[in-house]
Symmetry: C2
Subunit: 202 residues, 2 copies
Amino acid sequence: MRVYGDRLSGNCYKIQLLLHHLGTAHEWVDVDILRGDTRTERFLALNANGKIPVLELDDGRVLPESNAILNYLADGTDFLPDDAWARAQVLAWQFFEQYSHEPAVAVARFIVRYQGTPEARREELARCQARAKDALLVMERHLAGHEFFVGGRMTIADFSLYAYTHVAHEGGVTLEAYPAIRAWLDRVAGHPRHSVMAEGGA
Amino acid sequence: MRVYGDRLSGNCYKIQLLLHHLGTAHEWVDVDILRGDTRTERFLALNANGKIPVLELDDGRVLPESNAILNYLADGTDFLPDDAWARAQVLAWQFFEQYSHEPAVAVARFIVRYQGTPEARREELARCQARAKDALLVMERHLAGHEFFVGGRMTIADFSLYAYTHVAHEGGVTLEAYPAIRAWLDRVAGHPRHSVMAEGGA
């Protein structure tokens, strides 16, 4: 299998993290978002939505969307429960991540770290930071009573939320007020098969 | 089972549509977003993220996020394939819906239809409409070669995308340029067990 991804993207890091835990052989094709690699005709033929990551199987079938890829790759492994209710809980946290968390936490970080907070985006940054805090509070309340997001063990729901949460401070959102989140980040990163995000990650 | 939902919300309509197709007995608890029902202490105890819909089982377990609820309710039915690859494709379209489609199509409609396009949101509306067209183009290209989104038959991926697409024009986004989408909307609405969205729906 082949993964098209930008090593600086948190959404791609999720896939890298799971594949490292599973020890799955794969080819990684570097795609540089900032250089416009996702807008080429060749890439748009893979994913008409022009986003990474994209998974390509050896027979040529392709799958976009980081969380859909995680569900496919984790099926039948320890990182995705078999039970329908537990799987639905994993999905609920992943949809929370894509709707309420990533558009706030990841965008704030992009504006601060990669764009140097241009004047034109200051208001948007403040909105992202406020929404990021709301999302972190939802996570904090859950993690205050749970070691991991679903079923008492590490699943792809943790990978999905770890990717941008562990670098939230780079978007001006500190984790000081969220002790349960910090303890959970340490649990995820403390796993013997953990893999760190590339330096300079976006 | 009990569904907490606002009949005017497209995200809640997805659940209503699936339950109607399945003929599943359930209690519907009306929650009025505009009145602030999702910000009460009682509601936040159900879903700390303060969003509808929420599914509550008879034993008190709760599940938020419209697309997670659809996956749980459709498991084992004709509306969700058993095959892991097909399920991943369903998820990919649902994550596309929540990240690239809903925040554009549904928000444009809310600004136009429910707020009467206030001056302060005109720029945001233009951005939403532009992003909505990008999302619709991705759908159009896929539907030009497929009757339904996944596996040649109606699945919860279709319900997820139908909810806000069929009222996109109410946000100033017409479907004239998307004949394949219009034909697909007719196929979904033409099903003998189809259920229409509440009048005045948001």
